[in-house]
């Protein structure tokens, strides 16, 4: 790595700043940082199309998860059903109201925004066309929001809540619960197909 190379062929490891020269990799190859082992390039065959398909699926599941009933409990003749929307709105009374908005964003808003941004960025790239305007901003937004989209944490929270209610009342799971579970799997698959560097490279080539 002693001979000078054009800057657009270099990668600086985001974790340790070590310089690498980038390379086009084959389908099953991956490139990791020589010093700290952080994965730098993880291309997969036709991954753009896979990600688009999975993001579409996730979006449809999320819409189903919002509108179908989520959970229903009944005890001693009383019963009460809740949608995901009502779960977020549990905080809407009094000074906790901002938390209702935050929870709604964490479990529904940000995931949808991310799926939309990914589709917007990858659609032209998958069709071998130049990226649409503001694709870089859209993809950066999707990447920055990743730790804040918490659909999978919400589902584990549901499981804990069910155990807590268990002794108090009987609970039935609605279609939205299963839609949410499917959503988690689809999202995990989508992340596995996502190769950030490959996408940045494609956006940057114009």
């Amino acid at each position: 790595m002693s001979s000078p190379a054009p800057l657009d062929q270099l990668i600086a490891c985001p974790s340790c700043d070590a310089l690498h020269r980038s390379a086009r990799l084959g389908e099953s190859e991956r490139a990791a940082c020589a010093r700290c082992g952080t994965l730098l390039i993880t291309p997969r065959a036709r991954s753009f199309l896979h990600v688009i398909a999975l993001a579409f699926t996730a979006m449809i599941l999320m819409i189903a998860a919002i509108f179908f009933p989520f959970l229903k409990i009944s005890a001693q003749g009383f019963s009460h059903a809740s949608s995901v929307f009502e779960v977020a709105m549990a905080f809407s009374e009094g000074f906790l109201a901002p938390l209702a908005f935050a929870v709604l964003m964490l479990i529904v808003g940000l995931p949808i925004l991310r799926f939309g941004a990914l589709i917007y960025v990858l659609w032209p790239l998958a069709n071998a066309r130049p990226a649409w305007p503001h694709a870089a901003q859209a993809f950066r937004l999707a990447e920055e929001l990743e730790p804040w989209s918490m659909a999978e944490i919400f589902i584990i929270g549901t499981a804990v809540a069910l155990v807590k209610i268990g002794g108090l009342a009987s609970v039935s799971l609605g279609p939205a619960f299963w839609a949410f579970c499917a959503l988690i799997i689809v999202t995990a698959l989508k992340n596995a197909f996502l190769s950030q560097w490959t996408i940045w490279d494609a956006i940057g080539r114009k």
């Binding site: 790595m1 800057l7 657009d8 270099l10 990668i11 600086a12 490891c13 985001p14 974790s15 340790c16 700043d17 070590a18 310089l19 020589a34 010093r35 700290c36 730098l40 959970l71 409990i73 005890a75 001693q76 009383f78 009460h80 809740s82 779960v87 977020a88 549990a90 905080f91 009374e93 000074f95 906790l96 901002p98 938390l99 935050a102 964490l106 479990i107 870089a136 901003q137 993809f139 950066r140 990447e143 730790p147 804040w148 944490i153 584990i156 929270g157 549901t158 804990v160 809540a161 155990v163 807590k164 209610i165 268990g166 002794g167 108090l168 009342a169 950030q196 560097w197 940045w200 956006i203």
Partner: protein, 205 residues
């Protein structure tokens, strides 16, 4: 092993997309992210978020998280109180999950971030790899603390059975959510490239 870093080469690397630019460039021309030189200035932001998160963690533990009203009585539970109750009911597994997510993880996160920020530049003794792994674990696991906030939301939305039982959220839900969000920001502000500055200096050319 001698490693040439972007910094040693008079360049600055984008931490978002990996693209490399000449030193002094303010914004990445490919992804638009702000470029940060590898220096300790970002640590101030780490400490600011860390302290804010710690401040909100105190009321999160002292005020009630859940207010339960049943036929037999009225009850207020703090985070720890909820765990104790789960154990009393015999749900050890779930008690362990809640205990991990709302007590062990937040506290060890505060300790881990403080340790990483304090030991920047002194990694030569322990080596940089364990520090990087610690940072990755903190980044990965921090958001899972939000689980307790979701549990409270689900319980309060669902358990509305008139006089039989009703659950309402307490003020701790808000301060706990804020504390988790602030410590996530603190961890995100930490620049892992700092971990490697110590070793790089001793082995570099």
């Amino acid at each position: 092993m001698t490693v040439l870093t972007a910094r040693d080469a008079g360049l600055v690397g984008c931490t978002r997309c990996g693209r490399v630019w000449p030193e002094g460039t303010a914004e990445c021309g490919r992804c638009g992210a702000r470029l940060h030189p590898v220096d300790g200035r970002g640590l101030q932001r780490v400490w600011a978020w860390w302290l804010a998160g710690l401040i909100f963690y105190i009321p999160a533990n002292l005020t009630p998280m859940l207010r339960t009203a049943t036929l037999t009585g009225h009850q207020e539970n703090t985070i720890l109180g909820g765990v104790v109750e789960l154990v009393a009911h015999g749900s050890y597994f779930v008690a362990a999950i809640v205990f991990l997510a709302s007590i062990v993880i937040p506290i060890s996160k505060f300790l881990a971030i403080a340790y990483l920020a304090l030991s920047v530049g002194n990694e030569r003794r322990a080596g940089a790899h364990p520090h990087l792994h610690l940072y990755e674990v903190v980044e990965f696991i921090g958001r899972w603390s939000m689980i307790d906030v979701f549990v409270v939301a689900i319980l309060s939305a669902l358990v509305q059975l008139g006089t039989v039982a009703s659950i309402h959220p307490g003020p701790a839900a808000a301060s706990f959510a804020l504390s988790v969000a602030l410590t996530m920001l603190s961890a995100q502000s930490f620049d892992p490239r700092l971990i490697w500055r110590g070793p790089a200096r001793t082995t570099g050319p």
